[in-house]
């Protein structure tokens, strides 16, 4: 399974994989065997499964025989097609043109064609077709039991599990597929079925459990968050000589800021930026200690968890009686927020926007003043879920152009953006070989611009890219958008604020 067709910039160039100093490692990892050996762990302990309600949603025992479990899976595929329009469409509409294959960041990183949109889809489509007899049940009867049993013998659930947890739900395929088939949506449907079988990756289950127990992914309790906040405010005072206000759990406020929980650990620069923006705009705003999060790992797993986490944001807004919710820097979380939470908030008369939108609009209106543009050349990595699911493309660019000396566009920008390689719930250590290579195309695309910084308003990017950059020894740094806003507003060194 070597690179069948070279993936290059321009004719005669080297393959993008060969451009990495780690190419030898790549060959050892993937050449000749694809990526089927990189399997996400699903050995989640009972306690966690119980805590996040998987045991209640579960519809077949984990101890059931493999044949029974396969039968359940197949019957749910058939049901899914009856009750989910997108899934049915995507199962039926593929013309097998193969044009999606070399567009998938996972394929680009591993060159395993099964680890591609149509490769992945066909693992399930084969079952779907068999159940539907090609004629959609119009001619021919449904398959009988014996037929089904014989067919299911060839189905390898573990293989499906593995490849369905190598999809980042980035939706790049849906842009390039002539039929508009979104494998990310098929992936969501199939993972829903796995959750109903009690199968959920350990890392994601634990992350979701954090939301159940503390309202955020990182298990940050109120006191700890308050400590970090005090520390950060103090730091900001020293850096800028100015006082900032940031309330936690204010009884009432006009606006609620939802930060990423990782902003309290590793992305302090982003947190400072968010606080400064809210404060400079003179908003009466607060944080909510039960909603110090923007992520929604339910998006990667199943409908019930997506809604549970989404409802947590709605409840926080109601608790604080706010008129506006400002959503911090996050890609996938914005997809869930914009397409589940925001319509519900808007129905209640609460405005739901992202910090990037707020910043862009404020800059345009002259409500935020920029002391000194940061003297740096940056390039913008469009987070998949902003560009292809969140309608948020030009605002971050406007912000960056206002706060840095130069913004250089990558070749694969906007809806063509390359995935970071760790979205879709793949941000776990056991997938590291996959992550560093699926993220490489985006890093390399950025390197080619000659920029010093790669920038994106996304928490998964902030966890993923530094690892990719370090692995490939790439001479580029990674930062969030608000970090630059903060640095520019007070004329600070962007490298020293975090």
């Amino acid at each position: 399974m070597v690179s069948v067709r070279k993936v290059t910039y321009g004719r005669g160039g080297r393959d993008i994989l060969e451009e990495s100093p780690m190419y030898g490692e790549w060959r050892r990892e993937f050449e000749g065997r694809g990526s089927v050996h990189v399997r996400i762990k699903e050995e989640t302990d009972e306690g966690t499964l119980k805590a996040i309600g998987v045991t209640e949603m579960q519809r077949i025992d984990r101890g059931a025989s493999p044949a029974e479990r396969k039968r359940f899976f197949a019957s749910r595929v058939a049901e899914m097609a009856r009750e989910n329009r997108a899934f049915r469409h995507h199962m039926d509409a593929c013309v097998h043109c193969g044009l999606c294959i070399d567009k998938c960041p996972e394929y680009l990183g591993t060159r395993d064609p099964t680890n591609s949109p149509v490769g992945r889809a066909d693992l399930v489509r084969r079952i779907y077709r068999r159940l539907n007899k090609a004629s959609d049940g119009l001619l021919g009867r449904d398959v009988d039991d014996k037929d089904l049993a014989r067919f299911l013998e060839e189905v390898d659930l573990d293989r499906i599990w593995t490849y369905y947890y190598q999809c980042t739900e980035c939706r790049r395929c849906s842009v390039y597929c002539p039929m508009g088939i979104d494998q990310g949506e098929i992936t969501r449907a199939v993972r829903q079925i796995f959750v109903e079988m009690g199968m959920i990756p350990e890392f994601n289950a634990r992350t979701i459990r954090g939301v159940y127990e503390t309202g955020n992914n990182m298990y940050i309790k109120k006191e700890a968050a308050q400590n970090v906040l005090d520390f950060v405010l103090d730091d900001m005072r020293q850096e800028t000589g100015r006082d900032f206000k940031a309330a936690m759990d204010a009884e009432r406020a006009d606006a609620l800021l939802l930060p990423s929980s990782t902003d309290f650990f590793s992305n302090i620069g982003t947190l400072k930026g968010e606080i400064a923006i809210m404060d400079e705009l003179g908003l009466d705003w607060t944080l909510d200690s039960r909603a110090l999060e923007v992520a929604n790992f339910g998006l990667f797993e199943d409908e019930a968890h997506l809604k549970y986490i989404g409802d947590n944001y709605v409840n926080a807004a109601l608790r604080r009686g706010v008129k506006m919710v400002v959503f911090g820097e996050c890609g996938h979380g914005w997809r869930a927020f914009k397409n589940y939470v925001a319509p519900r908030l808007e129905a209640m008369g609460v405005q739901a926007i992202s910090i990037t939108q707020l910043t862009a609009w404020a800059l345009r209106k002259g409500r935020l003043r920029v002391d000194k543009k940061v003297d740096a050349v940056v390039t913008y990595h469009d987070p998949c879920n902003l560009a292809r699911a969140g309608d948020l493309i030009e605002e971050p660019r406007f912000v960056l152009r206002s706060v840095v000396k130069e913004l250089r566009e990558r070749v694969h920008n906007r809806e063509k953006t390359l995935c970071c390689g760790a979205g879709g719930g793949l941000l776990t250590d056991e997938l590291m070989p996959l992550r560093v290579w699926a993220g490489w195309p985006s890093v390399y695309d950025s390197l080619r611009t000659g920029a010093q910084y790669m920038v994106a308003p996304c928490s998964i990017d902030k966890a993923q890219f530094p690892a990719v950059i370090q692995y490939h020894k790439a001479p580029i740094k990674f930062k969030g958008v608000s970090d630059f806003v903060y640095a520019a507003m007070y004329g600070l060194d962007v490298d020293k604020i975090a």
Binding site: N84, A86, G119, S174, Y176, M179, K323, I393
Partner: protein, 257 residues
């Protein structure tokens, strides 16, 4: 007219047409009536649209039409542009569209087109479509070599081969047609549509071409050939986002800016 001719060229056309229209309608209705998902959401999401800036259904319709008629996603840049595939897809589909349109002439004999012009236009379009079709068939055979994945099912070969065959038969028929063929074909076609059947022209290539088309019409709704009908029922394409300028105005009002 003997019984076989009657069955194949007088009865079967009606059957094919009914199956084509009925079957396609059935498929589209099945897609359209499939619920979005539990509670009217797509697995928890209100919308799935993948195109930023799509703020109205009209823009969605435009985008879908552009995909169907210009195939512009194929040469979209991702490490170079696949112009070769795009060109063959474009020529093949437009060749077929045009050939279908030309056939309407059978029902509009009052439309005066010089015999020579008709011949040249038909043969040229057909030849281009045939060439593009053969290229696509070759590409399909080579897919495994290109992408390392054996993704062809039987349907994938049958569909393209069948269309190529229809075009080839049509071209051969046209090239070897006796002088009166068009007139006889018009009589047969208008006879069918006016429910006063006339015998088809007695020409073996005509029989073969028409039979291939009739069977194809029956096959179409139940195969991948139904793909053009799937565009309007794909929630990834036909959805829309709310108007962000509207949101901005509301927020600015809220903030008193």
């Amino acid at each position: 007219m003997n019984a076989v001719i009657y069955a194949l060229f007088i009865v079967l056309p009606y059957v094919s047409l009914v199956v084509l229209i009925g079957g396609s309608t059935y498929r589209v209705l099945r897609w359209a009536t499939t619920p979005k998902g539990g509670g009217g959401l797509y697995l928890g999401l209100y919308r799935l649209v993948n195109r930023a800036g799509q703020r109205s259904y009209l823009s969605a319709v435009g985008h879908i039409l552009a995909r169907m008629l210009a195939f512009h996603t194929i040469p979209k840049n991702s490490y170079g542009r696949d112009y070769g595939t795009w060109l063959s897809v474009f020529l093949f589909h437009w060749g077929v569209f045009l050939l279908i349109a030309f056939h309407l002439h059978l029902w509009m004999p009052w439309l005066r087109v010089g015999a020579e012009a008709m011949y040249v236009m038909g043969m040229a379009t057909g030849t281009i479509a045939l060439g593009a079709g053969l290229f696509l068939l070759a590409r399909r055979v080579g897919l495994r070599r290109i992408y390392g994945l054996a993704l062809n099912a039987l349907d994938d070969y049958v569909a393209i081969t069948w269309v190529v065959l229809i075009i080839a038969l049509g071209l051969a028929m046209r090239a070897l047609a006796p002088p009166g063929l068009f007139g006889e074909a018009v009589a047969w076609a208008t006879g069918l549509s006016s429910l006063h059947p006339e015998p088809p022209p007695a020409f073996p290539l005509f029989y073969a071409h028409v039979l291939a088309v009739e069977l194809f019409m029956i096959y179409l709704p139940f195969s991948k050939m139904a793909h053009p009908f799937t565009f309007p029922v794909n929630p990834v394409l036909y959805g829309k986002f709310e108007d962000v300028d509207e949101v901005r105005r509301r927020v600015e009002e809220e903030l008193g800016w």
